[in-house]
């Protein structure tokens, strides 16, 4: 499979306005290979460097060091060859001219890519229909709702039929249904394309990344912390399996289970006044569970409930980054 994007030790520094003569590194030694024809996710907290990376790859920003190739062209000096084959959609943008209608705004952008008007209008009509925006085609965009403007902006990204598309938080501002439609549209677009299409997606929604991306990178403080398929990331980064076991007896001492072979980590808490104890085990593998059950039974205590916990992408993210991507205690976003 050919490579759509390749970066080697890519770094970008900005002058830090808070400290004289000091640089703030938004990206540091990023090396990536993104294959053609996939949706590649970039996950990271705010300020991690995702947008900086996208700006460099989309020719808006020059790297301070390292190299970035898009479709084999260097972003530094071959940007004129890159621009005809890429496009970008940023969530929450208000681009376009309020005085023009939806169709006119989209037409205008197609002209900047040299698409003949007839062909452009047909494409616009199709995309408006797919995104349920046909009835607003002749409405001035200053009369659209935020979600509709976002949809129009989204269509703008696809109307030029780019080979490589950068989607920066594309579902921002969309309701649940519209976001679902959008995700489906992107997935189908990549899957059903006659020539390989590549999408670079940044998102704050773990589920979105998990559902859409064939591969993704977790990025923080400008560095790539992990780069794999969501499935492998969940498996590798979370490490092992986790079980929750409830035991209903006040006098039970859970500490005796800590030293059993195969128990990587262990935590417990008393859930109520009746003495219901909840224990969470991280185990190296499933076989350790049998030893735990055997031990509890041998002490004549009864198990109320056993639940296996499935690791999510968020667990992998927390392990790598040290905090949640959104919400939760200790969140720095």
């Amino acid at each position: 499979m050919s490579i759509a994007i390749k970066t080697t030790d890519l770094s970008r520094a900005f002058a830090d306005s808070g400290a004289k003569d000091k640089n703030f590194w938004a990206l540091r030694d990023v090396s990536l290979e993104i294959p053609e024809g996939c949706i590649y996710g970039l996950l990271g907290p705010n300020g991690a460097g995702k947008t900086t990376l996208i700006k460099i790859l989309s020719t808006l920003l020059l790297p301070t060091a390292g190299e970035a190739l898009v479709a084999g062209y260097n972003v530094d000096n071959e940007y004129e060859k890159i621009r005809p084959i890429i496009n970008m959609v940023s969530g929450g943008e208000n681009c376009g001219y309020g005085i023009l209608t939806v169709a006119e705004n989209l037409w205008m952008f197609t002209q900047f890519y040299g698409i003949p008007t007839k062909q452009a209008m047909a494409k616009i009509k199709d995309l408006l229909e797919i995104m349920n925006l046909s009835e607003k085609a002749d409405t001035k965009i200053n009369k659209l709702s935020t979600g509709m403007r976002q949809k129009m902006n989204f269509i703008r990204g696809f109307v030029t039929d780019p080979k490589i598309l950068f989607l920066d938080e594309p579902t921002l501002g969309l309701d649940v249904n519209a976001a679902r439609e959008t995700r489906k549209f992107v997935t189908d677009w990549v899957k059903n394309a006659s020539e390989p299409k590549t999408v670079i997606l940044t998102t704050h929604y773990m589920q979105e990344a998990d559902e859409m991306c064939g591969k993704l990178a977790i990025i923080d403080h400008g560095r790539i912390l992990a780069n794999d398929t969501p499935k492998n990331l969940k498996k590798q980064e979370a490490g092992g399996v986790s079980y929750t076991i409830n035991v209903a007896y006040r006098d039970f001492d859970p500490q005796i289970l800590r030293t059993l072979p195969g128990v990587s980590s262990f935590a417990h808490s008393v859930l109520n006044e009746q003495g219901l104890i909840e224990m969470i085990f991280n185990l190296s593998d499933d076989s350790a569970l049998a030893r735990i059950i055997e031990k509890i039974n041998s002490l004549s205590f009864s198990i109320n409930n056993i639940q296996k916990k499935e690791f999510t992408l968020e667990d992998a993210f927390i392990k790598l980054v040290g905090r949640r991507l959104s919400g939760g205690e200790g969140d720095t976003l």
Partner: protein, 288 residues
């Protein structure tokens, strides 16, 4: 609520709006660039008129003409700056900073907010005014004769004149609530109404009669004539429309026209605000 609390609340609104206005006006450049720009524009305006006189009349132009347009030009700096500052508030907050909806739904008193936002322009106008006076003293044959007894009347007319400009600014804001952004054209152009009809650089008597009737309802016309009389220390004026009218009568007309303007501006602003809400265009953007 106690009077003291009301005062505090009002003062807080004006103070914060004035701070915001000053930041928007001044924080984009080095102070010296800001100073150069503040100085150079009024000077250029002054030189345009001086060279028009020089072209049309040659070096023999009468001092009366210079006195007339010079005082008009200086007072007009306040009209232009304060009116421009206030009339840009809606455009800036709506289309550039996109904060108008948040201000609109807040319990802020719009009039106090506008006063505050216009204050930065008042400061700029005062600096421009000082520069223009200095340049006039250097380049023009000016003869001023203001007496100490005239100072309170001058101060009163100045304050009422400024208040009238503020109400005109409110009317402009009301208009901009329902209009598209045409760059700076609108604010630049509207101040032209006062430039032509209030006798800033030429006597109102040179205007056609129907235009003279319009000048008679604009407070700025009275403000300019009162200022000319008090600064020059004479009731003699080259503008025929004011012959036979005492300074006291002009003060009364300035006061009455300002009160009328005050009532109209409030009614008009409320009407336009309702209209904008009913059309759903309070926070629209209109770039092209």
């Amino acid at each position: 609520m106690a009077v003291k609390d009301i005062y505090r609340r009002f003062a807080a609104i004006v103070k914060s709006a004035a701070w915001l206005g000053w930041q928007l006006k001044s924080n984009w450049a080095d102070p010296w660039i800001f100073a150069v720009i503040t100085i150079i524009r009024p000077l250029a305006s002054l030189f345009i008129i001086i060279f028009m006189f020089r072209f049309a009349l040659g070096p023999s132009a009468s001092a009366d003409f210079f006195n007339f347009f010079f005082i008009g030009n200086v007072i007009y700096l306040y009209v232009y700056n304060v009116l421009f500052g206030i009339s840009q508030v809606i455009f800036e907050d709506r289309e550039h900073y996109e904060v108008i909806k948040y201000i609109y739904i807040s319990p802020v008193n719009w009039y106090l907010y506008f006063i505050g936002r216009g204050f930065a322009r008042f400061i700029v106008a005062s600096v421009s005014c000082a520069v223009t006076i200095a340049a006039g003293a250097l380049f023009l044959p000016l003869k001023f004769g203001m007496s100490a007894a005239s100072v309170p009347t001058f101060a009163l007319s100045f304050a009422v004149g400024l208040v009238s400009i503020f109400f005109m600014g409110i009317i402009m804001c009301a208009l901009t609530l329902v209009m598209a952004r045409h760059g700076n054209m609108m604010s630049e152009s509207v101040s032209g109404i006062f430039f032509i009809s209030c006798g800033v650089i030429f006597p109102i008597s040179a205007l056609p009669e129907w235009l003279q009737k319009i000048s008679a309802v604009i407070p700025v016309s009275y403000w300019l004539e009162i200022s000319r009389r008090l600064i020059l220390g004479t009731d003699k004026t080259i503008d025929g429309v004011w012959h036979g009218i005492s300074t006291g009568a002009l003060m009364a007309r300035l006061g009455i026209s300002t009160v009328v303007l005050f009532i109209f501006s409030i009614l008009f602003f409320n009407y336009m605000s309702m209209l904008a809400r009913s059309k759903g265009i309070i926070d629209r953007t209109t770039s092209y």
